[in-house]
Symmetry: C2
Subunit: 299 residues, 2 copies
């Protein structure tokens, strides 16, 4: 069997709850696959092949478009609860009993909802550039984010240089390299997300961001080992929200990379693949293995 | 030449500025040694052999008692500026031109002062369970810290179970393993720190913690690549201070481990050694190496 990569994996389809989900699946079958949940208006083609292929060296990765996004049928719901339910239906349609779940930005909201609604389905969680319900600066969007998303870009892809990267020369250079990588796949690319889908996602973001009493209490329920990753200067979902996630999730590690923004994993794809692989591959990600160390001492 | 370990390295002495500094030096000579700066009332014997020997596998480690501490002569100054100057004098007395500097708790304050006063001497910085000048909850000590340090313990070593570990069963079990490890060295142990030295350290802590205008601006000057590590629930120097350090240092990565406290590195010594080794060994700890990854994609 030929092993597929980010560039060659064919778009396949799975039916559930009347929705035809588009997905691509590749990598080394090795236990628990990793399911990717994408950011605002993103499709399968917006993932970074340096990351997907990097992670696929030791596990299967599954990219998909949730309901109403690009090549998937159905409608984008206006709550993350429903998007989570759709994602669960998709995962079960593949016949999978347990997966690791990765979510980037609003995909991190979906990842949290998947875990809350189907805890038995989720082994571990990776949350990138995201935050909790009612997070800091979320309501109405951040001023920086609103200004970035309302500007026009030529070419349009340059939007992502502002969304994902800091203004520093090093970060912008990494951004331009990322733009090349995510355009490398030439055949069978996803159609752009419709304006309607973007409007529905925005409505869901507004509900997620609304003020609540004791908004972070729900995180205590998520027992899965969780790795949280963000850049030092995320102006789309403020970095402090990653710290808040770590402080309220009972079983979470936080990594913040220097001089980086919402897309820190696109800036440091090698570091990111190393850190996530280490986290996902360990039998128990943080178990103190002091007996081995004690033995080392008494030699 | 026999390679020494944490347990066998002899205590040696170096003279500078009229002070006789006690130190131990061991590990694999391999470029830049790593100099350890200890916590409140701690001596060379309070380091964790699982960490020192772990890190010594790829580099030389240097433990020392700063002026007025235990087996070193002189007096403990009442400012971290002066403790930093003493540490610099010690490092230069060894004839070293460049070192990596690690600081734990108030040793992290000393590490910052070393870097501010002798930037050319410091290649990289590792800051554990520490914080910036005028950090959150520092002035007068945290209520939790004050209560922990004013209680009595039988045996006295059990103080460290409360200072360094969370109340969880897993953290306390890791704590008991740590207490065994740091008592393993049986010969040539350091005398306990004097009450006078502790009083001087407390006076220095009060000055460091005092309120200031724009207290974190000074961190912008520290250009060295810095790795910041802490536990999720440090009640001695609140965990948020590690986040503040990361946000204000221009070139810093933050790692926060789950269910752990002031001594998270004592709880997860293997993870800690792996993370610090990776950080210190890389030619450039965060350089995006995208060209290699792009090549991978176009195969």
């Amino acid at each position: 069997m030929t092993q597929h990569s980010h560039q060659t994996a064919p778009t396949q389809f799975a039916e559930a709850d009347g929705i035809r989900f588009a997905y691509r699946r590749f990598g080394k079958p090795n236990g628990v696959p990793l399911v990717f949940n994408q950011h605002f208006t993103g499709t399968m083609d917006h993932w970074d092949p340096a990351e997907t292929d990097g992670l696929a060296q030791e596990r299967e990765v599954i990219l998909f478009n949730n309901a109403g996004i690009s090549s998937s049928s159905g409608e984008v719901p206006t709550t993350f609860r429903e998007m989570g339910a759709n994602a669960i239906a998709f995962i079960k349609a593949l016949g999978l009993k347990q997966v690791d779940v990765l979510g980037f930005s609003i995909g991190g909201f979906v990842a949290q909802e998947i875990t809350l609604q189907a805890p038995e389905l989720v082994r571990r969680l990776v949350l990138l550039g995201t935050g909790p319900r009612s997070g800091e600066g979320m309501l109405g969007g951040t001023p920086e984010g609103n200004s970035i998303f309302s500007a026009t870009y030529d070419p349009p892809d340059h939007l992502w240089l502002s969304v994902f990267f800091t203004p520093s020369a090093a970060s912008q250079a990494a951004g331009r390299a990322f733009l090349k990588r995510f355009r490398l796949r030439s055949k069978d690319r996803d159609p752009e997300v419709s304006g309607e889908a973007a409007v529905a996602q925005r409505a869901a973001i507004a509900k997620w961001s609304a003020r609540r009493e004791r908004p972070y209490d729900y995180l205590k329920v998520i027992q899965q080992p969780t790795l949280i990753v963000n850049g030092s200067t995320d102006v789309i979902i403020y970095t402090v929200n990653s710290f808040i996630l770590q402080q309220h999730l009972p079983n979470a590690e936080l990594i913040i990379y220097p001089d980086s923004a919402h897309g820190s994993h696109h800036q440091y794809p090698e570091l990111f693949v190393r850190d996530v692989s280490t986290f996902l591959s360990a039998t128990n990600p943080w178990a103190p293995r002091v007996s081995k160390l004690l033995k080392l001492q008494s030699k």
